[in-house]
Symmetry: C2
């Protein structure tokens, strides 16, 4: 990619990100069409690079300790339309198109389906699709 006139011309854009002590930054996925916030996950340098290169969201799974190509088993890929960085350079915002209309592993559109109501978390959003029918079993190798 060309490094012509712009904000931080001589610095690799990945170096401008303030990675935390674990080499990660939070990444918010927002539906580009509706503005709904669908999820927040984490990225390391490699996953952010891949996200930019491939145009689909690739996160870092902290629980599994590996790259997480969102949608790799569900087909619910996130096509990235825009990548933004905040003023402190430590949070990423992705504006995405959510294939299948479901971002959450529970089968809901958004992960933020619990609303605080009178001192209780109340589930507000319906399951669109039974998660048991979303995830294809991974074939055993060999």
């Amino acid at each position: 990619m060309s490094k012509s006139s712009s904000t931080i011309p001589s610095v690799d854009w990945l170096d401008a990100v303030r990675w935390d002590s674990n080499g990660l930054v939070p990444a918010i996925a927002q539906d580009a069409a509706t503005g709904d916030i669908l999820m927040m996950a984490w990225m390391n340098r490699e996953s952010l690079q891949l996200t930019a290169d491939e145009g689909v969201a690739v996160y870092w799974s902290r629980s599994r300790g590996k790259l997480w190509r969102k949608g790799e088993t569900s087909g619910h890929t996130q096509r990235v339309q825009e990548i933004r960085l905040d003023c402190d350079a430590d949070v990423i915002l992705l504006k995405i198109e959510q294939l299948g209309g479901i971002a959450c592993h529970t089968g809901r559109r958004s992960c933020f389906f619990n609303r605080l109501d009178n001192g209780q978390w109340v589930v507000t959003d319906a399951v669109i699709k039974d998660p048991n029918t979303i995830y294809r079993p991974v074939k055993s190798q060999g």
Copy 2:
């Protein structure tokens, strides 16, 4: 507050949050009217409790190591309309009304004003108000 029938009836709603090893969770502030993501900051248990009790966003400043009543020096308070929790119970979403229309300390509406464009972070959003005119100097004590 009454503890009647709901999702997690016998557990304090603050105990349902999965605080990280520093006792914090990320909190995303979204403009309730436009859907714009304005900022992401951090909350500890006390700040989330205060946010719910007072109806205005109170964060935890990691850099200053103290409660951060958003807008305390700028007047740009965030009135909270809704508090949400994600499926893993480790990210908070606030739907807010941003008083003054400016969430960012740079004087911009949103903190996410850097957009990745051809391998460069490009500043896309205009400064609405000079930050030097936003923050009132704190009077010295005594």
